[in-house]
């Protein structure tokens, strides 16, 4: 290392001298020639003058150019990331992290962690969000002090609401005497984490490297223990840039995988008894599965009761091909249930009640008075109240503060153990009606999809089925939110594996779509899985620069635009307002339609190096275009097809 640094020092000195001489020369003549003919009164500028003129406005003091820094603190910070097995760091380059970024590249070799270069901190955090959901491992994102963290905050909030781990690293310079006047002051704060503390699980601003290592590993454990959440560690600028003192004495704690909380045995046994006694039990899942094992356990649980399952789709919880997946019949089963088992349901009140979007907003219960609700969730362990992701309070009849997936084996075992013969017979008798109901539900979806099949703009059902036809025989993943396409993938596709779907954004902050899809696609690339993103147009306009990141890093991602040329949800809100108020019934389009001009997303993608076609509004042209795009993606590159679509 010393030899390498010495070499670099020599190179830098030589380069500086040559650079100074070259600056004095005119094109076509050497620095030596220029120096020979230069008048005595016009000596070439000194290296310090060049530095002052090109690097900033500060005066350069004689004692400032004497030192080189070996073994900077940020090298140790990279060691910590490596020890934590952080594979990628999404980076929006920033001066407050300059030491860290340089260490990632030159000390760490830009490999594990590798920088994923972003053009906006919201993109960086969104990429980390999607990556964690697909890979099951946290990713880091590195953001600038103050302004970068402010940019990233919405994406961090989405991850918070979505219970997704993320290692946020923010720059800062705690020691006010070390900040250069001006910009560095604007980009530092006394308490950097304050602006996001309501929606990170843990934060710290370490003041020593040993402190940094311990806090990072503590944060990592907190982030990856259910309830999983983002965490923030401030990487102090001085700590990054000053040499590590006594590196050999620094210790990096080993990463610890903390066992998730499992439901209390007595409460689990009671839940089993209640479920076995039910005539119409219902299972509702939201973020219940954390892995394929979770999906398999949920199938076992449902089959052990022959209870219908309503998947609220915050994750891939339950196969769409299984006869007990009756998610399209939610209202019917909620009304009929005498026992509801809610597994990691984020909004328990909203599951069993509704609020009408009519004047006065009347609410009503959706369940019978005698219906019993059993809730198993790690949400009971969260204790923050400022943001509304806690939803309205619903008192469950039996509540377990536990991780659902970790509790499922004991619950399944208790159901086996406690079932009486008559109960087992009743459970078996439910199978055939459930199979019939499932078949009717899927057939209804098929018939619904025919409506507007040949319409232009393209129907969302047609869009989804054209995609499905091209990917169904691949190892694939849907890395976007299907609610914008009326959930056609969940109604028509065979979604059977955990990694075939990553759920929604959590906080419904627009601008999640493309970054999260890119992060998930990054994880898919490592796994050899084809990532498909059905991309809303309004969402893409928030952080279009992710297209450049996809191209720059050669992340294969099939982007199919769901381009309804609107922030469509808002069109409906505005139309509802105008009509209720009996005002101009055509005013809803103001501020909601993306028109005059229409955005050419294919041109936008091409400008950033992404293969693209479109806009396509004739459904007959869509299949061949997707085939061409798929060939590009299979070659290891991103592609985009702009499709002009129906609203939903």
């Amino acid at each position: 290392m010393e030899t390498k640094n010495s070499g670099r020092r020599g190179f830098l000195k030589g380069a500086l001298a040559a650079g100074a001489a070259t600056m004095a020369a005119t094109p076509g003549e050497s620095a030596a020639q220029a120096a020979a003919k230069a008048p005595a009164t016009a000596a070439p500028p000194s290296s310090r003058t060049i530095a002052a003129e090109t690097m900033g406005v500060h005066s350069v003091h004689d004692d400032e150019l004497t030192g080189h820094v070996h073994n900077p603190g940020s090298d140790f910070m990279v060691d910590v990331l490596k020890a934590a097995s952080i594979k990628y760091v999404a980076v929006m380059t920033a001066s407050s992290n300059r030491g860290f970024q340089e260490s990632i590249v030159n000390y760490g070799g830009n490999k594990a962690p590798e920088m994923i270069v972003c053009c906006h901190e919201e993109a960086a955090a969104g990429i980390a969000h999607g990556y964690a959901k697909m890979s099951g491992k946290p990713m880091a994102c590195m953001v600038h002090g103050n302004v970068g963290l402010q940019h990233a905050s919405m994406a961090i909030y989405n991850a918070w609401c979505d219970r997704v781990p993320m290692m946020v690293i923010a720059g800062n310079t705690a020691d006010a005497t070390k900040r250069r006047p001006g910009v560095e002051w604007f980009h530092t704060s006394v308490d950097q984490a304050a602006m996001v503390r309501d929606f990170v699980k843990f934060d710290d601003a370490p003041v020593s490297l040993q402190h940094y290592a311990e806090s990072f590993m503590r944060a990592m454990s907190a982030a990856t223990t259910p309830p999983m959440e983002p965490v923030l560690i401030v990487a102090d600028g001085e700590l990054q840039e000053v040499p590590a003192e006594n590196r050999a004495a620094l210790r990096i704690p080993k990463p610890v995988s903390v066992s998730p909380p499992e439901g209390d045995a007595r409460a689990v046994a009671e839940a089993a008894k209640i479920l076995l006694a039910a005539k119409n039990p219902l299972i509702v899942v939201d973020r219940a599965a954390r892995s394929q094992e979770g999906v398999d356990l949920l199938v076992k649980l449902a089959e052990s009761l022959n209870a219908p399952v309503i998947d609220l789709r915050a994750r891939m919880n339950f196969p769409t091909t299984h006869y007990l997946n009756q998610s399209s019949l939610q209202r019917k089963y909620i009304a009929a249930a005498d026992v509801i088992l809610a597994l990691e349901v984020g909004d328990l009140w909203g599951l069993v009640n509704s609020v009408s979007d009519t004047p006065g907003r009347p609410s009503k219960g959706l369940i019978k008075a005698e219906t019993r609700v059993i809730s198993i969730s790690v949400n009971y362990l969260l204790a923050k109240s400022n943001y509304g992701d806690i939803q309205r309070y619903q008192a469950a009849d039996l509540a377990l503060a536990a991780d659902a997936q970790a509790t499922l084996p004991s619950l399944i075992e208790a159901l086996k153990r406690e079932a009486s013969a008559p109960q087992s017979a009743a459970i078996a008798a439910r199978k055939q009606p459930m199979q019939a109901a499932f078949a009717a539900m899927r057939e209804a979806a098929r018939n619904d999809a025919t409506r507007g099949w040949d319409a232009s703009p393209v129907s969302t059902a047609r869009l989804c089925q054209e995609v499905w036809a091209q990917i169904k025989n691949e190892k694939w993943a849907l890395v976007s939110q299907p609610q914008f396409q009326s959930y056609w993938p969940h109604r028509l596709w065979d979604i059977t594996e955990y990694r075939q779907f990553i759920g929604h954004s959590g906080g419904f902050g627009i601008g999640y779509g493309l970054p999260a899809a890119a992060g998930a696609a990054l994880a898919c690339k490592d796994e050899g899985r084809l990532a498909v993103n059905i991309q809303s147009d309004g969402d893409l306009l928030m952080v279009p620069s992710v297209l450049w990141t996809l191209a720059h890093h050669k992340i294969p991602l099939l982007n199919i635009m769901h381009n309804n040329r609107a922030w469509h949800q808002e069109t409906m809100h505005l139309q509802r307002m105008g009509t209720r108020r009996e005002r101009d019934p055509e005013s809803w389009r103001h501020g909601t339609l993306i028109e005059a001009p229409y955005v050419d997303y294919a041109m936008m993608a091409k400008s950033m190096g992404v293969w693209a076609e479109g806009p396509i509004s004739d459904p007959a042209l869509l299949g061949p275009a997707i085939q061409r795009a798929l060939a590009v993606v299979k070659s290891g590159l991103p592609a985009l097809i702009d499709v002009v679509t129906q609203p939903r």
Binding site: H322, W453, T571, M572, T579
Partner: protein, 124 residues
């Protein structure tokens, strides 16, 4: 003019008149359908129901099985749902009839069995 001629002349006049009325009715209908389409888009009906009334997550399908005109008008004036009530100030009866005419004019969708991309599901 003999009686046959009188009858023929009368028949001819009747036929011409009938043809005129039918043509006018046809023309009115085409105009009404076009006007209905325009209203369906500009008043924002399509936002929830889709441009061809196919429905989706935000609103039910309106085609096929469109309600009879009077029932359609009654529903739109006082919807028993979150759909806002469309008063006469927002859409007149004539305009709602035009929207109904547009929806009624839309062709039937192909059957699911005729669409290759909608195979029968295979459940477990």
């Amino acid at each position: 003019m003999n009686i046959l001629n009188k009858i023929s002349c009368s028949l001819l006049l009747t036929l011409i008149g009938a043809a005129g009325v039918a043509g006018e009715a046809y023309a009115q209908s085409a105009v009404e359908i076009s006007r209905g389409h325009e209203l369906f888009i500009n008043r924002g009906c399509y936002l929830c129901h889709g441009t061809v009334g196919q429905g989706g997550i935000a609103g039910p399908h309106l085609v096929p099985d469109t309600l009879p005109a009077e029932a359609f008008l009654a529903f739109v004036r006082r919807p028993p749902s979150e759909m806002p009530p469309f008063s006469e100030k927002i859409m007149s009866d004539a305009e709602l009839h035009a929207v109904h005419a547009y929806l009624s004019s839309l062709p039937k969708s192909p059957t699911a069995d005729s669409i290759k991309l909608l195979p029968k599901p295979v459940g477990k």
